[in-house]
Amino acid sequence: MNDIGIALLGLGDKLAAHVLLSASAIALGIAVALPLAIWASRSPAVARATLGFASLVQTIPALALLALFFPILLSLRAVFGEGLPTLGFLPSLLALSLYALLPILRNAVTAQANLDPGVIEAADGVGMSFWQRLRLVEAPLSAPYIMAGIRTAAVWTIGAATLSTTIGQPSLGDPIFAGLQTQNWVLVLAGCIASAGLALVADALLGMIEKGLATRRRLLAAGGLGAVVLGILAALTVQFGSSDDDRIVIGAKSFSEQYILARLIGQRLEAAGYSVDYRDGLGSAVAHRAVSTGAIDVLVDYTGTIWTNQMERRDNLDRDAMLAEIIEWETRTSGTHVLGRLGFENAYGLAMPRAKAEAGSFESIGDLAARAPRMIIGGDPEFFERPDWFGVRDTYGLRFAERRNFSPTFMYNALQSGEADVIGAYTSDGRIAADDLVFLDDPEGAFPNYDAIVLLSPETGAHERIVTALSPLVGAIDVEAMRAANLSVDREEDQLSFDEAARRLAQRVGL
């Protein structure tokens, strides 16, 4: 319990960011829903259309809705210019507001529809104008119902806001995603407790306002409102009180190695006198776009990922030729600066437990072909959609009995428990050594090269001091050191924090 307490205490800035994001999304949801509800109350067609749209939005999984705003905002840059943010606060705000829309809209429309027609006739009869009727009669009579809708929206939004971590917005999802990655359940629990607690507090305060409105006790409503405003002000103070815009933002995709390398880079920059900020848990495509547009400043990416996903190349060059082409492509298309290779590769490969491989005398991927129809292959959710998998599958003629998707963490467990016979694993993963796995040889070179490289956003790449501070990283990290660091945060016993793992990695490689 003590661990959770300590983890909770460290979440102050995430909580503040979470409060501000949720409050903004609910406020925007209200600002859109109420005028729509007024319009809908005057026109059944509008009511059908708006409620239908809001219900449709609800059927989209929150994670997908958040991710969808990235391409939407990207295409909107044609209208609003290159300054339009495509990651972080803006897309999170828009997606969550859409989510908040339905409960507020539905309650507001229902409240309007259920108003006593006699009261409306009286309002017209005494000579109220449209706005007088709205302000003096319809709004106060609908307010308790609308408030109930806002309560529902608040609970949903605070819960869904944890997912905004995946598109680069700090939130209480950060500890949850980081903890899930490393099986650090204390961190996951701390994030869940904080976000659930926030939802409960918001629900209770909004409930006070609702009750105050329904029973016409102004003090109660004002007290609830005051507490909500105070909470938001406190979050604003935490968020902007100590902020400075010179922070270097370091991105990390959602796996351990990325978290550790981000801290390693962050520690070097802090030693050079910069303040840094982390955007953890980014999706792969989102992360590359983020660094090339300057939404983040630094990112560790992999040559094979850029080659197949961003450059959409299907051919396979040797590693030096590939890197040269990537540097040329980055410079030409976005001005993103490639600092250089870190020195290890985190490729995909097909891995099996050593005992199983020896028993079946599996040495190369080609040995799988004949027996694959009786075997199960596991992979992360991306793996089976990647061109490299298509390449390997077609090169060696692999046809498995079944394929299963796992989160990277559970993929290794599945291999241990026999739920998968072979997995698409990462070569730098700490669990390779820990679980005594072997990679099958790839004599045809079907898996492309995945050298880890450091990318700097166009603006950051022009900062000589930053380049100087990070240059010693180039060529400094061998795959053994990286595996050890990965294992130190992934193992079940004696787990290190990302910061500590990064410090030990730096020590080990002599940085």
Partner: protein, 255 residues
Amino acid sequence: MTDAPAPLLEFCDLRKTYETTAAVDGVSLAIAQREFVALVGASGSGKSTLLKTVNRLVDPTTGTVRFEGENVESLPLAALRRRIGYVFQSIGLFPHMRVDENIAIGPRLVGEKLADGRIAELLELVDLDPALAARMPDELSGGQRQRVGVARALANEPHLLLMDEPFGALDPITRDALGERVRALHEELGLTTVMVTHDMAEALLLADRVLVMHAGSVVADETPHALLDGAGGEIAQGLVAVPRAQADRLAELAR
């Protein structure tokens, strides 16, 4: 015939059609100042629709309504309604406002504050204890609520009072007492009153003039006395027959 005063209210060939049916089918008539007129008819005869064209809760399909010489369609809607008191069956007190706030709503809409003394006076006009001013509507009985409804209608000192089945939902004793009170107020305040009712007895007892409507047309326009003498035609006499027969039977029972 030269110095007859201009009518307070005038309908000129008024029609209101809903899709294929005519709710009001060509009504022309004039109502003089200080008249108490009852509009009587069966359900669906068009009496409520006709009444509501005056304060434009219903807009006619063709024809005009003139109020104090002006076409009601030429007047700003809110301003027109503030000059006309309106009382109707479902009362429509604002449930989130106290009694005094309900009564003062008309003046409040034009930025005036009704003095407490005036609210007490209005409550007394409708035979209510001024102490009720601070109550909420759901703390009142049905009869008290409709009295507040009448007080609210009178707050703007209207010249014209429109009543749509005002006593329809009240018990007979309350109904009778409130009817008497409204008739007395009509005299005291010099009002012109138009009351829609389906109860011929109520019309005969309260009104100076009874208009009988049938299928959108006015089929009889008589004084209560003339109706009781057999004037007004078949439909009107059919309506008069009901209370007359009741009165006869009661008289027989009492013998």
